[in-house]
Amino acid sequence: MTAIASNDTARLQHQRGIERWQLPLAVVAALVVGFVITAMVSDEPWRAYLALTTGALPDIRWSDAHGWEMRRWVRFGSVIEDAITLTFLGLAVAIPFRARQFSLGADGQMFLSALAAAAVSLYVGGPWFVVLPAAFAAAVLTGFAWGLVPGVLKARFGANEIVTTLMLNLIAVQFYRLVITQVMRDPTAGYLVTPVLPAAALLPGLLPRTNVTAMLFLVPVVVVAAGLLLSRTTIGYEVRTVGVAPAFARQVGMPVGRAVVMSMALGGAFAAFAGLHVSNALLKRLPVDLSPGMGFEGLVVALLARNDPKAVPVAAFLYAYLRTGAQAMERTTDVSREVVLVIQAFIILFIVSERLLPTLVPRKFARWLGRQPKGDA
């Protein structure tokens, strides 16, 4: 048996040597694949890729007439807005993932929390220090509750959480549309939408002509909270342990079922921040045709971040940056922005292919890579 342990060490070293490089290698490889595809249909692939990778940046230049100028902040602002929403959605998927639950319910949780936030903002009067906290509370409670449902279904009845969360998404979106159409509709607007939220409920803006708001300051708080949740609380500890060693968790008496339920419910709570962001910061009123699908982008972000809360905002920013860059690329070249989806898909495929790198990278080289003089063994 001891011989087995030493073989495991060798394998662990081989794996660790590669793991460090997995994300960068995956990104590079995916960019290459994207480039090949672009080159096949475009006459100017290099220019397109340049636009893709730099298009989202604000334009800083010097001119004799005006001195330093910063242009295109609005475009960069949309990167920040997207990144904020995606950070919250990424956390909404990453937390359940840590307990090995494939929760795809971020969409529905976001829709319902946005609805709750808008409802409270519209119907609860008062100054901002009454309305805003109320809206936050409503959103988080709604998201938590909607995340609780598939968790309980899974823990009590063994119901496959992928299917239940997908179904609950459908129900949530329909409910959202129902309420907006029948209850919260603004009769003066020309289309199906809620009234504009009162100023007291809106988050103060940070960048002019963008929707970047004080929500930006909330991002590090929430991310740190998520990280602390996982690493410093008993719930987080249970979630992590159940995710990597369920038999061990059961042996020492951890409440496995409760950990599963909580991981999904907490995920919903994080999605609620995205919902509030959409309703009180980005859109300032909720249209009936708000398109679902952002939850899946949260999934991509979580995968890119390997479910580590600290990496989620980075991955979210990367995702948003590439997406906006793709929009710029589309405007200035003949390449459409969807190529970014192709790149993302390949990044995901390359990251989760456990055996791809080990088969390509020879053992010795990987062990050399793995022998880093750091504290962790």
Binding site: K154, L170, R177, P246, E338, L341, V352, T359
Partner: protein, 340 residues
């Protein structure tokens, strides 16, 4: 028969026809989902594969005229169909290779393929057609419909079998419903179908019996891609005759739900697909009765969830899980206890 009852029955027949047509693409994809799930490697990329086939089918059927000039007109749609299916198979192959050879998680890889399909189809749409929304300008053909002659005297039956207007049901609608029977037959009566079920239910037993487990999984995935592809082709060359970005609108996921709602059986999947198809049709009809369409749309997902709950309760004792692939740390871990 009185004129009134004829009218009512004709109306019902018209509704039924609409339901059949709405259900057909879901059914095809769901059968693909079923066959992959039964083999233990569930294909969650059905949505993306449908898009791929829909897109390439349209493009190929239009360009086929340039590639093979001078053929009879009716052949070109079929060439498009073939190319669309080949494309779907190609992407399914990608999924299969990444999962079976490189160890990628099946669900995650499936989601990646969905994203890939969504991006690639629009990307190529713009590059090849120049329009971001659809291929409406191409005037792509449709696959033929099959008309059953000689029913002029029986209006109800005529409507049922030939649709209003008497043009007949699309060939793929026939294919979809026949596939149910074929698949059922395949699974229970043929060697390979039995091997497939064995691989999904007890891969160890299959391995010990000399069944090539990996090969069976490949075949199951490819077959599911083929069926999903057919569903997609129907959408762009039958239901509509163009490709639109995101034209599948979640049908691929409904197909997955249909598999579970149908208790992972061909006949059940048929019923579930009809239910999902009916929902869209009924929603507009019931709109006339003051029932908000949203509530109607909520019913099938709700029913699916209930089904999963009841299925979970009855399966908990036997240890069989709704889908073998998905991990489940809260399951009563009776199989891993090393008992005397």
């Amino acid at each position: 028969m009185s004129a009134d009852s004829v009218a009512i029955l004709t109306l019902v027949a018209t509704l039924a026809v609409a339901v059949l047509r709405a259900a057909a693409p879901i059914l095809l994809a769901a059968l693909g989902g079923l066959i992959s799930d039964l083999s233990g490697t569930i294909n969650v990329a059905l949505e993306g594969l449908m898009l791929i086939a829909a897109f390439f089918g349209v493009i190929a059927s239009v360009h086929a005229v340039q590639w093979f000039p001078g053929l009879a007109q009716w052949i070109y749609p079929w060439i498009g169909c073939a190319v669309g299916l080949v494309a779907a198979l190609g992407f399914t192959g990608l999924l299969a290779i990444f999962h079976l050879e490189f160890g990628a998680d099946l669900i995650v890889a499936g989601i990646a393929i969905n994203i890939l399909a969504a991006g690639l189809t629009v990307f190529l749409l713009v590059a090849l057609v120049g329009d971001k929304g659809s291929t409406a300008g191409l005037h792509s053909p449709a696959l033929p419909s099959i008309q059953i002659p000689g029913l002029a005297g029986l209006p109800v039956l005529d409507t049922l079998l030939n649709g209003e207007g008497g043009a007949g049901h699309h060939v793929l609608v026939y294919v979809a419903f026949m596939s149910v029977a074929l698949l059922a037959l395949f699974l229970s009566r043929t060697r390979y179908g039995t091997w497939l079920r064995a691989v999904g239910e007890n891969p160890q037993a299959a391995l010990g019996a000399g069944i090539p487990v990996k090969r069976v999984r490949y075949v199951a995935l490819l077959a599911s891609g083929l069926l999903a592809g057919l569903g997609g082709i129907y959408l762009s060359m039958g239901y509509l005759t163009l490709f639109q970005a995101d034209m599948t609108a979640g049908r691929g996921f409904l197909a997955l739900a249909a598999v579970f709602l149908g208790a992972r059986r061909p006949l059940g999947t048929l019923g579930a697909s009809l239910l999902f198809g009916a929902t869209g049709v009924l929603a507009t009809q019931l709109g006339a009765f003051e029932m908000p369409t949203q509530i109607v749309y909520m019913i099938p997902p709700f029913v699916t969830i209930c089904m999963l709950v009841f299925a979970g309760r009855s399966l908990a004792g036997s240890g069989r899980r709704p889908s073998a692939r998905i991990s489940n740390p809260t399951e009563p871990d009776t199989t891993t206890r090393s008992s005397a």
